[in-house]
Amino acid sequence: MFILSVWSLWFIWLIWSIWLVLFHQIDETDQSDQTDPRETREPWLVPDARFLPYGHRATLVFETLPGDRIAPEAALAYALAGELGFTDDQVVWVRTGFDDAILSAEKNFDFNLQQYSITAERDEAVDFSDPYYTTAQALVAFPDSAVAGATTLADLKDATLGAQIGTTSLDFIEEVIQPTTAPPVFDTTVDAKSALEGGQIDGLVVDLPTAYYVTAVEIEGSVIVAQFATPSAAPDEYGLLFAEGNSLRDCVNVALAALRADGTLAALEDEWLVAAGGLVVISE
């Protein structure tokens, strides 16, 4: 009898607490609907440390300085200006931050080029032109590595090639290079670097802009062995950034299409990304 009464008390307590939890849940959702959405967005305005490397890359490798014609983005800007009917001295440069340019309400530029990858999240805040550059995949290794002299995909068949998780580079290794050893997968390029230094992998596949950054900053002594001609299945695409709803975008898209058609874009890519690095292009 005693046991029964304890059990029934326990049941009542259980059901009561479940109802409490249910009601509390409803209360909480009501409250969260009333909170100011700007409160939850605030952290986004703080500069994101993850974007620092991209800023470094722009200054260290491409040297994107205002007005100088020493970077692919600058060269592209002047080519676009010409196509749109402006003279070179009508081009005015302003400095902006990377995240600020996306998030600030007042845009003090017509368009912004800092190697912005076109993503759906960014597209909600700003507008992008058609892509002006599609990232190629590249092979990074030490000069004494087994893959250092590779010129064809067949040279890489027996190599152990690493990649970072969640990147198109990993898909690229498995689908295009198809090496006999399954590619080791790392959480960060720093881990991949350790594996490269320890000789656990012969080479590391990353996209070309990352490869420039990795060889210049992250992995001392490493080189870009080659660029691959075949693009990966879902490559990063760089676009010009406009304020949301800026009608200039359509004109720029027409100009971009013209530059693509007459080979100017391909020539820029070749000049700044392939010839500048003295890269071998592996096409088959």
Binding site: I3, I15, I18, G162, I165, P184, D191, A195
Partner: protein
Amino acid sequence: MAPTPIERIERRGPRLLWPRRSSRLSEEGARGALIAAVSTVVVFGLLLVFVLRSDAWPAVQRQFFNWAHFKRSFPLVLDGFWLDVKLFLVAEVLILVIGLTVAMARSLRGPAFLPLRIITIGYIDLARGLPLLLLILLMGFGIPALRLPGVPNSALFWGVAALVFSYAAYTAEVYRAGIDSVHESQRMSARSIGLTQTQSLWHVVVPQAVRNVIPALLNGFVSLQKDVALVFVLGVREGLREADIYNARTFNYTSYIAAAVLFLLVSVPVARLTDWYTDRDRRRKQAMST
């Protein structure tokens, strides 16, 4: 013929979920069974309703319990999981041997063995005091980076080495508890019939000690069986990493559920084996004392 007390005890079989009751209380037991059944159904039923009623459940089901994704990811994860099983088997054998050696070294008495005891105590403190993940990263990336001639640089090798390094220390302590639990008179009688210290440890103390700590060792098996997955940080394509890769490609978490199912398929039987062994051991001891 009436069953002997031992047979009577053994007939009852393992009692995992059900507490032992004496026959005098069997009526009470029947009512207890009814209450237990009802409460089990009600509690789990309510929990299920509570979860399924949630507004977010369809989204969670799509993200975590998606049958199409399960079917696609399972073969990939299984492929990597075999590596986990192989690593586990290799590591476990090494751990049992090295752990016992360390425990015996630590249990040797006498001033001459002091350096040995210092080394083993230092090793055990170091290995148990460091997080396993840190050991794997240090040994897996650090040692190959030294590029020492003749030292292997394989991530698999150093991953297993780190697992063995860490687990052998825990296992040594388990063994030592077993060795300490054997009554001092056993060691003294062994010594009195002329066995050396090592001989009395090996032939008299250790066999009894090991039998006492088998449940604790099996517990270590279960733990290691999951922890082998940590070698994924070295880039090794084992089960958890394959699930990870699938998740990064498809943004769906069902591959982790597939990995979870595989790990459970191995660890649950070992857990039941431990229960069965512990139960048998207890009954055997009870029978001996009757």
